[in-house]
Amino acid sequence: MTFDWMKIPYALLTLFIVFNFGLLLTAFIAKIGARAGRRHGIPIWQNYIDLIKNYGQRSSITHGVMFYLGPVFRLTGGVGLLLFVPTIYGSEMFSNLSFAGDLILALYFVFFGTLGMALGAGESGHPHAAIGITRGLAQVTAAELPLALAVFAVALQYQTLSVTEIVAAQQGGMMNWTMFTNPLAVAAAMLAFLGSMMRPPFDVVLAPQEIPIGPPTEYHSAYLALMQTNRAIFPIAKIVIYMNLFFGGATSWPEFAVKVFLIYLFSAFVGVCFPRFRVEQSIRWFLIWAVPLGVLSILWV
């Protein structure tokens, strides 16, 4: 087997683009959210400032090996997820490292970072970290289910697990998008999307305002910087999967930017409109509203 070494700089290029796009986009979305709440919001470059500040912090502590490795796992998960999926359809340059595996790899690799993060935060010994993780894990089991069903429906529909082939099947006009050929699956997936974006009504896991809870509590300085980097990359990587599976993929960077923004906006839009669920409520909500859609979509195919 020969390896095309040019893939590495190309992949790094993708990473660079997405990283910057992610930093800007999350800030932009945050600003939109703030405006919806009649607040001024952060400047668009706020994420860069935070990042530089955190990398620059001199004080740093560690609770042990897993604590140290947690953010590394987290970011590896985000970067890996991005690189295992082709970003731009039809472009050899931005097909990244998708030769390593198909859709299933991407879906399971999502958990890589989650697991590492959970372990790292766990070693800090902070009970709030553990509470946040249990909530997050509990919620994710229910939230991921509609997505898994939708993905499966899509795989059945196109008879393939290769992301590239799924995108290829949706080319030739909007009406070929999965959104229109299999609306039930897309509906289920988009509801699942809400659950994974850490926004209301499903953000009790992070509970950003009330108490310092969740994994980030104990992390600071460079650790936090790594996690922030991830927070720029990971949602985009995830949205790329959605875009590829349901919305026809992207054939160019502008198309990419628009689609990612709109999908991201969907979660922000819902987030500013609805109050927060408790964990058991969100589990029930997913099982009652989203899962049946996914089941129907599978039976529909």
Binding site: A100, G125, T160
Partner: protein, 1051 residues
């Protein structure tokens, strides 16, 4: 040859001579008694040897020099020789065991003892009806006399009352017998049994009533339900050595008498005998359930066994020439085991079942107890096993399914109370009174043990001669396992080395025989087993009983994969079941769990037996491969029975409740054996079944489809229950249930990739579950608890255990890049071609739940807050860590090159499922739908991880290690780890949302079932009021009912 008459004559003369001796010469009198009994035994033995070694025909002995009907004749044939030997030997050994009391009671008791034994031999030998009556009466009087004489020793009056009840009953019996005899004589003009049979007594005028009276009298001597209250009282109160004779010898003689009667009665009376037998078998076992008195329990069991043998006699129309083999196997098993148990009960001081825990300090006696119980339950290699196998097969072949079902059901109840008792012996508190180890008493028990194993060998040879089956006792793996019984005094490390060497050597000897499918299992069972045994080096001392049990299980496993016929398969299945039961029982608190394990397993085994028997349709040989030739309407039934049988081992939902306790309470190094290795036996069975039988349609239900659903639901419920466990090993056990559900689902998909996934699960589950159980076991060993919330923060103290656990949970959860992901990837590809979409959805739900319990496992043990009492905890012992590290290495290798194993299996599966295989093109694995490159994944993830890690090391190089409580905790410093470690009720929100799915409905169902049986037994037994008169009513009622049935059947 010495005439058999001397058996009777010698006893009579000796009894007479004893009367001449002076009362003081008790020692001499005792010697005379023993010598006489030995002489009687020797005569029988002589004859037996003659009949075995040559083809001699039975010999008739005409007592008055003339042929019947003018004189009484005796007959000595093979059966008579065997039975009289049994009776005389029991008499001799019981006499030995009763030494103390016989010496105290003096020569009269000895004379009566001789007469009793003689009378029983007479019942067997005589061919004359009236003579039989006389011998029966002699036996009654002798029995009553012995009870009366021995009374002053016990002096509690209980024995007396029992004896009087016996006399009341025998008065009724003898009246019936005499009247029957005289009318039979009137009708046929002869008293000779063969003469009556030849003149077809039952066809003559009034003959059937005459026969009925004789028949019912003899049957009543068999203590049939419900006319048996008197017998139970005797069993409960008499000297155990006497009870041994009463159970083994009297039972044998009466059974043979019934057999002779059936010769007269002819075919019409066989169903009646069967009916009485089966009712007795079921009822007596049911009534034995609530017993707590050991001897009464043994009494119930004796009655039950007699009933079973009566069934066999009643089924002689279809058993034909095999009746002797079957009835003999059952009778000898019963006699030897029951006599042995009664003698054993003479060693134990207390009468409660719990009191037998005193045996525990004597391994040899425990071994004797185990031998007897296994013999009674009909486990291989004992004669009862061969007999049961043939009986069930012949019944199934003739379509007598209801009888077959009742026999197996009742046998299960019997196994239930016997193994419960064994649990008491091993686990209950030892009573203060020690075991009486007088040499003559122990010797009696040991003779029974030797007889048990000798008979096993003999029956194995007989089965070889009659049916061409291999002698189980000659199977090399079993011999190897049994040899550890002799090696038990050696130190544990030496035995461990031998065990490992033996397993590896066996693998080396046989590895060429396996196809790739079997190779996987062989590797897991033998090499995997040897690997797990490495952990056993940590044990010190001798570890008595561990190696015979473990090797018995491995012997069963080794024989299972080599089995080609249903017989060999079933033998192996039973062996591995029993071996694993003994292993599981070794855990500290595992008594109830081991019991439920053996009950579910035996229930499953009986299902398998019934399935095999149905499939064979009476054919003496049935190879596993011929299962595929079965057609409707039989095939689905066979499939159903076998599938349920195998699913008890894989703990499918509904049959799973034994698993958590059994796996969690087992010893540290046993848990991986019974979880990682033993569970695969069930999967192997399912694979074998599906390969041969494929899809089956059962009244419109596709059974494979049903299995798909069961697999999915099992996966969901297993995973769901796992997340709510506080006990780490229980968590792993429930996780096994879930994993087995996945594997079953894969198999039931019935496509190429489904099977590949199942096999991958087989391998992966072995590796990571063994590893996790060892890791958790090591932690539990060091911390002294299995409750996860009591632990915490152990990562720095037990780093290697942590690494094993970490690798383990990544592999279980299926996160790339470790080997679990391969399983998931194949799973998705497999279901893409399947039509079964709804059960798949359940499986989708089950998948992520695994993350919950896995995270809980690693977090609450190794992360979070370290407790004060564990600050000095050390890493787990080296020998427990070593196999874990090997497993880590295996997991990493399999993760990178899964093709190492899988591509061979993949290619092998092509012959069964030609479509949908994977293609192994270099490093890339491609299916019809997707692709996967394990090495690339590993490299990419590794490079990204290392790059980021280096970056973090660079920017964060001065990070300081801080103390435990240096955290931001609500603006305060937490002051106790216990209040800061978030671990108990970890997934409370999840319980709120989905807890309703974990209601213990299955447990409730099974406990209601057992309670119901118990209560039924407890209520029914109250009808034995203890009043001798009531017992007489029972007898009369029994006679009337049998009369109505019997005469109703007659033409």
């Amino acid at each position: 040859m010495v005439s058999p008459l001397y058996i009777i004559a010698v006893a009579l003369v000796a009894a007479f001579l004893l009367g001449l001796l002076k009362e003081e010469r008790r020692g001499l009198a005792y010697s005379v008694t023993l010598v006489t009994l030995a002489l009687m035994s020797w005569i029988s033995a002589n004859w037996l040897w003659l009949f075995i070694s040559t083809d001699a025909v039975p010999v008739e002995i005409y007592t008055a020099g003339t042929a019947p009907p003018f004189a009484i004749n005796l007959r000595m044939g093979l059966v008579e020789a065997a039975l009289t030997l049994l009776i005389n030997l029991t008499g001799l050994i019981s006499g030995l065991a009763m030494k103390d009391s016989l010496l105290r009671q003096g020569r009269r008791a000895m004379a009566v003892w001789l007469v009793a034994v003689m009378a029983l031999s007479g019942i067997v030998l005589t061919r004359d009806m009236f003579n039989m009556f006389v011998f029966f009466e002699l036996a009654v009087i002798a029995t009553a006399g012995l009870v009366l004489i021995s009374e002053h020793i016990r002096n509690d009056g209980l024995t007396l009352a029992a004896g009087f009840k016996y006399m009341i009953t025998s008065q009724f019996i003898s009246t019936f017998l005499l009247i029957g005899i005289i009318f039979a004589y009137h009708a046929t003009g002869t008293l000779n049994i063969d003469g009556m049979a030849n003149t077809s007594l039952v066809l003559l005028n009034g003959g059937s009533i005459a026969f009925f009276l004789m028949f019912i009298a003899i049957i009543a001597e068999l203590k049939p339900f419900p006319a048996n209250g008197w017998a139970l009282d005797i069993y409960e109160s008499a000297d155990p050595a006497f009870s041994a004779l009463f159970s083994a010898a009297t039972g044998a003689a009466a059974l043979y008498a019934a057999d002779k009667l059936l010769l007269i009665g002819g075919a019409e009376w066989l169903p009646i005998a069967t009916g009485i037998g089966i009712v007795t078998f079921v009822a007596a076992n049911l009534l034995a359930l609530p017993q707590t008195h050991d001897r009464r329990l043994l009494g119930y069991s004796s009655i039950a066994q007699t009933g079973l043998i009566l069934v066999v006699l009643g089924q002689r129309d279809i058993l034909g020439e095999h009746t002797l083999f079957i009835a003999g196997g059952l009778l000898l098993s019963h006699a030897v085991a029951k006599a042995g148990l009664f003698w054993l009960s003479g060693l134990v001081a207390g009468r409660e079942l719990n009191a037998w825990a005193a045996l525990r300090s004597h391994p040899l006696l425990v071994f004797a107890f185990v031998t007897f119980i296994c013999m009674l339950t009909g486990l291989p290699p004992f004669p009862g096993f061969y007999a049961k196998w043939e009986l069930i097969h012949l019944l199934a072949g003739e379509g007598r399914i209801a009888l077959l079902g009742l026999i197996l059901f009742s046998a299960l109840i019997e196994a239930g109370y016997l193994f419960r008792w064994f649990g008491y012996v091993m686990k209950r508190e030892s009573p203060a009174e020690p075991v009486d180890t007088a040499p003559h008493k122990t010797a009696a028990v040991l003779v029974a043990v030797i007889a048990a194993w000798g008979l096993s060998f003999l029956w194995g040879e007989l089965a070889g001669a009659l049916f061409g089956r291999g002698n189980i006792l000659l199977a090399l793996p079993l011999l190897f396992a049994l040899s550890f019984l002799l090696l038990d005094p050696l130190p544990a490390w030496l035995k461990n080395t031998l065990a490992i060497a033996g397993m590896v050597a066996w693998f080396y000897l046989t590895y060429t025989e396996y196809d790739p499918l079997r190779m996987i299992f062989a590797a897991i069972f033998l090499i995997g087993g040897a690997l797990t045994l490495l952990a056993s080096y940590h044990a010190h001392g001798k570890r008595i009983g561990f190696y015979p049990s473990a090797m018995l299980m491995y012997a069963g496993l080794a024989m299972l994969i080599r089995a080609t016929s249903t017989f060999d398969f079933f033998v192996a299945w039973e062996l591995l079941t029993v071996g694993s039961y003994f292993l599981i029982l070794r855990g500290k608190h595992s008594e109830p769990h081991a019991l439920s394990y053996i009950l579910f397993s035996l229930g499953g085994a009986f299902m398998i037996l019934a399935g095999f028997a149905l499939a064979a349709q009476g054919a003496p040989h049935f190879s596993l491969a011929s299962l595929q030739e079965l057609a409707q309407p039989l095939a689905p039934w066979v499939f159903l029975l076998l599938a349920i049988g195998f699913m008890t081992k894989t703990a499918a939902i509904g049959l799973h409740i034994w698993l958590p306790g059994a796996h969690a309470e087992a010893e540290t190094d046993v848990s991986p054996m019974v979880s990682g290795i033993l569970l695969k036996a069930g999967l192997y069975g399912l694979i074998m079944l599906l390969l041969t039988m494929g899809r089956q349609n059962f009244y419109g239900v596709d059974l494979v489809n049903a299995m798909l659903w069961i697999g999915a639901i099992t996966a969901l419920i297993g995973n769901l229950l796992a997340i709510f466990q506080e006990d780490a090993k229980r968590l792993l056990a429930y996780s096994s249930i879930g994993q087995m559900g996945y594997a079953m689902f894969g198999l039931a998909l019935m496509n190429h990739l489904g099977w590949l996934m199942a096999l991958m699960f087989v391998i992966n589950h072995y590796v990571y579950k063994s590893m996790l159980f060892l890791a958790v076991g090591g932690v539990a060993k060091r911390t002294g608890t299995r409750e996860m919330y009591r632990m915490g923060g152990l990562i720095t103290l037990m780093p290697l255990s942590f690494i094993a656990t970490l690798i383990g949970i990544i592999a279980v959860s299926g996160v790339p890049p470790l080997s679990g992901f391969g399983g998931r990837w194949i799973f998705y590809n497999a279901i893409l071609t399947s039509e079964a979409r709804l059960p798949m959805i359940i499986l989708f739900l089950a998948g992520p739940i695994a993350f919950l319990y896995l995270f809980r496992l690693i977090y609450t043990i190794f992360l979070g807050q370290l407790k004060d009492e564990f600050r000095r905890v050390k890493e787990a012992p080296f020998w427990i860590i070593l196999p874990q590290m090997i497993y880590v290495a295996i997991l990493l290798v399999v993760a990178v090159v899964p093709g190492l194993v899988l591509r061979h299996v993949d290619a092998y599966l092509d012959q069964f499922f030609p479509n949908g295989g994977l293609s192994w093109d270099g490093m890339i694995i491609t299916s019809d739908f997707g692709y996967w490159n394990p090495i690339a994944i590993m490299i990419i993830v590794g490079v990204i991880f290392m790059t980021l890690f280096s970056w973090l090391l660079f920017v964060n190089r001065r990070a300081q290690k801080v103390k435990q409580f240096n955290i931001v905790f609500s603006a305060e410093r937490p002051f106790r780890p216990e209040t800061t470690h978030f671990a108990w009720n970890f997934f409370a929100p999840y319980r709120k949302a989905l807890g309703f799915l974990t209601l213990p409905l299955v447990t409730l169902f099974w406990s209601t079932m057992t309670d119901f049986l118990h209560t039924a037994g407890d209520l029914t037994r109250r009808f034995y009021t203890g009043n001798g008169q009531t017992y007489a009513y029972h007898l009369l009622g029994f006679v009337i009912i049998v009369y109505l049935f019997g005469m109703g059947i007659q033409p």
